[in-house]
Amino acid sequence: MADLNVITHDILIVGAGLAGTWAAMSAGENGVKDIGVLSKVHPLRSHSSAAQGGIAAALNNVRPVEGTGPRGPLEQIPPGDDPIDSPDLHMFDTIKGSDWLGDQGAIEIMVNEAPEIVYQYERMGCVFSRTPDGRIAQRRFGGHSVPRANYAADYTGHVLLHTIHEQAVRNGVKFYAEWYCLDLLVEDNVCRGVVALDITTGELYLIRAKAVFFGTGGYGRAWKITSNATANTGDGVAIAYNAGVPLMDMEFVQFHPTGVYGKGILMSEACRGEGGYLRNVNGDRFMENYAPDKMELAPRDLVSRSEQTEIEQGRGVGADGEGIYLDMTHLGAEKIMERLPQVRELALNFAGVDIIDAPAPIQPTAHYSMGGIPVNANGQVISDAEGTPVVGFYAAGECACISVHGANRLGTNSLLGASVFGRRSGKAMAAFVLSGAALQPVDEGAVKKNRQCISTLMDDSSINGKKESPAAIAEELKTAMTRYAGVFRDEERLTLACEKVQELTDRFKNARIMDKSRRFNTDLLGAIETEHLLTFSKVIVNSGLARTESRGAHYRTDYPKRDDEDWLKHTMAHKDSNGEPELSYKDVDIDWDRYPPQERKY
Amino acid sequence: MTRFFQVQRYTAILLVVFMALHMIVVHYPPGHIDFGRVIERLENPVWKAIDIAFLLTVLVHGLSGAWVVLVDIGKVNPFRKVLAVLIAIVGVAAFIYGTMTIIAFQLPT
């Protein structure tokens, strides 16, 4: 083709969050020179920067002051004193958090590499908060039995991302900022490259590479109320699925209990940590009916479910009764100004409420997607339950399912997972490329196909005169997912969700965009992203419908118990020839001697 | 660049002093200024020295300032070296001429 733009790289990385940037860095350090990184937003805009709380690692820098209880003050551990934390403990907490669906081999690798990767971040320039003697400060975090979250105030992800990005630039990694990956080219289980769009010019490119890496982030945007950035539309997940790669455990999506009402923007866990109350419309602290001991400090999924129960029983607040009050007025202006200034700002800007004198309306918000592209501990994508690799295709971060988070991720473990497995993937890719991998022949028709899709979306002479707005379809999908595949699920709701997704998928065939220009067409991107949302939402609802148990974040009111007998296994979904998800299952990697499944009790 | 900035700031400090002095001594109280009035003061060689220093300071400050103003403009920026030379020439010329003037204030013999 005359108008075919081709770019080649040894390694092509899609996604410039922590996972993608680490992969690029470490591939470079391991001897590969020619690395390209594609990102649909500028690398520093990646969603990793939104992480607030911290990154987990058993550094043993601080401990609770003796005899002060679970919410008491922390102190640095004097040199020579006994450590309180260990990778093993971290491993156990993670497994327990995952409701035993996490693969223990991968978890072990992650917790063992954790301290080293945090130290490396520090040595590269991260400005972590410090203990009085200058070590990295740590704080408590939900589900971790000791203070293990290494943090930089409440912008940890921001600091990590900027640091690693700068170091990658320093190492000569080539970034393509504002390039959109449209398609992945896999044939005969061998990955050959991608089709990408230079957003600024609207030009299509065929990018060939010996190894392709996906670090495209999560898929929380399929819900109406979500803490995720607008970029988190699960593109990588959908693209891989369309290319014939299976998706794993897609039904597991974590809901955070305190998102700003109607928007989902995260109000930090610290609000409850500092003593905030949750109240329903009658002003009752309803948590006493669900977790009388821990009250507001019960684990995230439990609190989210309690809130949702109140809402569904008609005791919610707000215009549509879908909210709950987070009441911090009793803390007093002084404490709020000192400990939660950012939260106050947030509530002021986004809810129009000053938390000093009024409760803030909040609601559960889609927060983290545990499922994704199945990979092994070297980031190599696998194509079936036996672990057959897709040659030359790697993934890590939130778009991948390794699975270290199992059915429920612990806070601070995802920055860690993205970093550790991003780095490992980079190393594995370097080994793969240096072992003599070659560029594979590609079908140039792929570009044509994508160009066709785009012109269809832009076309105005639509079939049967019916035009659909992609934005409206996305909106309906999100509403349906929130209602039917949200905190609570059951057969009826999930069936409704399936039908809705199918209906919307059909309607999307007539979707037409308004912006017909080539240059920086975000309308077009929005439509493509909507298509991706539909693609993987179908997998989510089908996987969820099939899984007749409650485990971690997947809660079925019709099957409220965990069922290890039948369901201690990962869901794998392949796209079949009709475009429907075909489910199969994969065993969980469990060390039966060390960490056999137990009841998950807090 | 560092030096230009330095020079501007230090000369600015000096100018605060000189300017105040100049205003008070020369222009206050306001009135008719003629040779006679100037010579009253400039008979004293110390005043001469002060005025020469003032002249130097204000020239350096003003002209380096003018250079900055010009060079701030993106299109002019590439020619900053040439400009610096031109302005320096102006400065030196003005300084020599001004110094001659100051020296010229002498009681006619």
Partner: protein, 116 residues
């Protein structure tokens, strides 16, 4: 952005600075008449003692004091960490300059129009 004290002061400072440089060069040329002797000097000075030029000189005074006090403000900002007071500092500099212009300018005008 264009209505901030910072920008306004910058424009004024720049403008007065340039005006002062131009004046300075003229000034040096004017005084240079002294080289040609007493008469030449006095003759040239006469040229500049009409009410009109003296009025202009008042403006010049305004420029000098404004530029000067604004410059002092910048020196203060440079040597002390007072950026939080940036607005008050500007108002202070401006007010002082205005005051001095009046204090110095009124007698000049009185003199110029022969009232003093």
């Amino acid at each position: 952005m264009f209505k901030t004290t910072g920008f306004i002061s910058f424009v004024l400072r720049r403008f007065t600075g340039v005006v002062l440089v131009l004046y300075l060069l003229t000034h040096i040329w004017v005084l240079g008449a002294a080289n040609q002797g007493v008469e030449a000097f006095n003759r040239r000075m006469e040229l500049f003692q009409s009410p009109v030029t003296i009025t202009l000189e008042v403006l010049l005074l305004a420029a000098v004091v404004y530029h000067g006090f604004d410059g002092i403000r910048l020196l203060i900002v440079h040597y002390f960490n007072v950026t939080d007071q940036r607005k008050s500092l500007f108002y202070a500099a401006f007010a002082t300059a205005a005051l001095l212009t009046i204090v110095g300018g009124v007698p000049m005008l009185l003199f110029a129009f022969g009232i003093g």
